[in-house]
């Protein structure tokens, strides 16, 4: 967009702003209510489980989505175009993610099975203070880089202080003026972007090991960390596509987000669908072939023993088979509607996948799937939070929206 662009009115947000906020607020409220009732109910651990799973999922979505911008910027992939703005908006969820993470401490007794068993020396690594401090630091670093990247990016986008707002004014105060300054900002942006990518790999591996793998403290899989961050990017892209599609539809297709963009990001999504499946298969094969009980028991419990076996199949079909078959066709990638459906399905699938990984550890000898209304509502709640975060970000920094939005008015 050129310098003469008139200031963008908040009205340009998808949906009239108020309705959007209220909707999001309602969703969030429902979630919170469900969670609280769950806590007070007979099975607080179930409520915590739902909370935990959704925390992991939605944080992953936010982190993954932001990675898109950072990555495309670092490797100088110019095709990202308007999508990068959208992807950065997900950074708005980071604060919520942090809060939820700390909230886990409250439910620790319900969440960390290893608290109550003999770890044969693993206590050195698996103990709450150390775990929360190292993961907390990890999150802070990751989110810090994310925000830094975002702020540098905004410095290049923002042309005016309006609409007013604390954060925005603060930013506006620091806009680069001279070419030299702009150049410096660019370099910083690259730096933070690169750091974000780096931190993404490290921190998400760590989270994968600490919060997911360690749920069964005697099981190990070296690939698990990588598996976790590939998954995160997978859902992140999914969410990004959904957002882009919504914006696209909302702007009546007269937007800067061209088919080419949808096609490219679609391909990327497809690639990560394959990669996710690959990492899934790689772990399965090695463990199946090795047949060492220390490893197999974990997998057997989740893939062969009911009730989990059914869940495993659902996850695999929803997260790989269907997307694979659908995405082979290149035209689909450019149909926003279809992509919204597909990506939502994948996100749900990964949500179930989290349940598959954590459920058995949290509900020993569960007769049927520990999956109920509460879980659904909590999911919705988190979705609400995510929408809130996005809406707020766009409200404060409309520049993140694709320029086509003026045309939309």
């Amino acid at each position: 967009m050129n310098a003469t662009t008139p200031s963008i009115q908040p009205g340009s947000l998808p949906g009239s702003q108020r309705s959007l906020f209220t909707l999001a607020a309602v969703l969030a409220a429902v979630g919170v209510a469900a969670f609280v009732t769950g806590l007070l109910g007979p099975q607080p651990q179930r409520a915590w489980q739902a909370f935990f799973i959704n925390f992991l999922l939605w944080s992953a979505i936010a982190q993954g989505a932001v990675l898109f911008a950072a990555l495309t910027h670092t490797v100088k992939a110019r095709w990202a175009g308007p999508l990068s703005g959208l992807s950065q908006a997900f950074a708005g969820f980071f604060p919520l993610s942090l809060i939820c993470f700390l909230a886990l401490l409250i439910g620790r007794d319900h969440l960390f099975p290893w608290l109550h068993e003999d770890l044969h020396g693993k206590e050195i690594w698996l103990n709450l203070p150390f775990l929360f401090s190292r993961d907390g630091i990890g999150f802070l670093a990751l989110y810090g880089f994310g925000w830094a990247f975002l702020s540098q990016d905004l410095k290049l986008r923002i042309k005016t202080t309006a609409p007013a707002g604390g954060l925005r004014r603060w930013m506006a105060g620091r806009l680069p003026q001279t070419e030299a300054e702009i150049e410096r900002v660019r370099r910083r942006k690259t730096l933070w972007g690169g750091l974000y990518c780096f931190a993404f790999a490290l921190v998400l591996s760590l989270i994968g090991f600490d919060l997911v793998m360690s749920m069964d403290p005697h099981w190990i899989s070296t690939l698990f960390g990588a598996y976790h961050f590939v998954k995160a990017f997978y859902v992140g892209l999914g969410a990004l596509i959904i957002l882009a599609a919504i914006v696209h539809l909302h702007q009546n297709r007269r937007t800067a987000i061209a088919d080419a963009h949808f096609h490219d990001i679609g391909k990327l999504f497809f690639a990560f669908c394959l990669l996710w499946a690959d990492f899934f298969y790689v772990q399965l094969t090695v463990i199946w072939y090795g047949n060492i009980p220390e490893e197999t028991s974990y997998v057997i419990l989740r893939t062969v023993t009911p009730p989990w076996s059914t869940l495993a199949w659902i996850v695999f079909i929803v997260c790989f088979i269907i997307p694979f078959i659908v995405l082979i066709n290149r035209r689909v990638k450019t149909m926003p509607g279809a992509m919204i459906a597909l990506c939502s399905m994948v996100i749900l699938g990964i949500w179930l996948e989290h349940l598959l990984l954590l459920g058995p550890a949290l509900n020993h000898a569960a007769a049927e799937l520990p999956l109920g209304v509460t879980d659904g509502l909590v999911f919705i709640g988190f979705m609400g939070l995510m929408v809130l975060a996005l809406a707020y970000t766009f409200k404060t920094f409309p520049e993140l929206l694709p320029p086509g939005s003026e045309a939309a008015r």
Binding site: Y281, L284, T285, W288, Y289, N291
Partner: protein
């Protein structure tokens, strides 16, 4: 059409070559084919050609390969009917690797065959009405006209800023 004269206009500029193609028809000449040193989207657009058919060969190959791979693995395993390392005779998890590799292999075969078939290669007769410069920096448009109109066609090409080459 036998007896027709074939004349090639050699353009340095892709765009000109592309522009000429529709005009040929308008001028009453029949377009034979275009030669280019690189895949030229402009020309393809000008010709309004739809996508090639290679993909179907590839897909077919892939499907064949997938089943062939699994079939081979399963068949041989069943023939032996030996349990090794306690693993089931037919264990699909590892057999998937065979299936996968065969899928790729046969898709590629399909792809190559498709490529040769669709673009009718090898074809050494094509060289008779062909100018080497087309593999260098020239975009050649080969057109034909009824006997007698050669002159017009040559002028036509020259007006468009092309060098002209006549084929008997």
């Amino acid at each position: 059409m036998p007896g027709d004269a074939c004349i090639m206009g050699l353009f340095k500029d892709e765009a000109k070559a592309a522009r000429v193609i529709p005009e040929l028809a308008a001028a009453g000449f029949s377009f034979r084919r275009a030669h280019s040193p690189i895949p030229s989207h402009r020309i393809l657009e000008a010709l309004k050609l739809k996508k090639g058919r290679v993909g179907w060969f590839t897909l077919a190959g892939g499907i064949v390969g997938f089943f062939l791979g699994f079939a081979l693995a399963i068949f041989t395993a069943v023939q032996w009917n030996l349990i090794v390392s306690g693993k089931p005779i037919v264990s699909l998890i590892p057999f998937f690797i065979v299936g996968f590799e065969f899928t790729i292999l046969f898709s590629v075969f399909g792809n190559v065959i498709g490529l040769l078939v669709c673009s009718r290669l090898p074809d050494y007769r094509g060289l008779e009405s062909y100018d080497p410069r087309c593999s260098g920096e020239h975009f050649g448009v080969l057109a034909s006209c009824e006997a007698g109109r050669e002159g017009e066609l040559m002028d036509f090409f020259q007006k468009k800023g092309a060098e002209v080459k006549v084929f008997a």
